[in-house]
Point group: C2
């Protein structure tokens, strides 16, 4: 493949990544709502450990070029963004699991 | 859905994310190989701007919850890991686009 073809493939992969990351964030927000209703703490370190262990294991099984350290850094950022949305959502009672995105801000 | 069901869905999404991130990294490594063969610079800021603009646009079209700032932070990390792999690959002549993962390191 040429550089242009590879870049087009990356653009396609990025669109799918955006969709999956958004679906993941929606699930995380729904969990945040349930936790809030039950009075549970948003930050649950044992769940975070599970998520990171799970992606490292899947990365090993699929033999990607991304090793466990790279996957850990990537998913720490993904978890961090989910937590940020959960906290924003918790501070906007009534907005529930579909808070305004930050579309208006700096873009 | 219950918290357990939502977490199982997140685990499924994470497996797909790992696969797509690995496919993306493989494409980036192939681009790195071509650039190296042609003597081009690995860091091409205009391509990075295109990638970030593209994911923000797709995020807006798919109406997130992840806003443009969150997507920018996530894809800056994704691009950063790709660049790290390209540089590692460039320092391992003969290994080409399939360098050893960092599986052996600290995991």
């Amino acid at each position: 493949m040429t550089i242009d073809q590879l870049r087009r493939r990356i653009d396609e992969l990025d669109e799918r990544l955006v969709e999956l990351l958004n679906e993941r964030a929606t699930c995380a927000l729904q969990i945040g709502e349930i936790k809030q209703a039950l009075g549970l703490e948003i930050y649950q370190p044992e769940r975070e450990s599970h998520v990171l262990g799970h992606v490292r294991e899947h990365g090993r099984a699929t033999r990607g070029p991304l090793g466990p350290e790279a996957l850990t850094r990537l998913f720490e950022r993904i978890i961090d963004e989910a937590r940020r949305l959960e906290r924003e959502s918790a501070h906007m009672p009534g907005q529930g699991a579909t808070p305004k995105t930050d579309t208006a801000a700096k873009d």
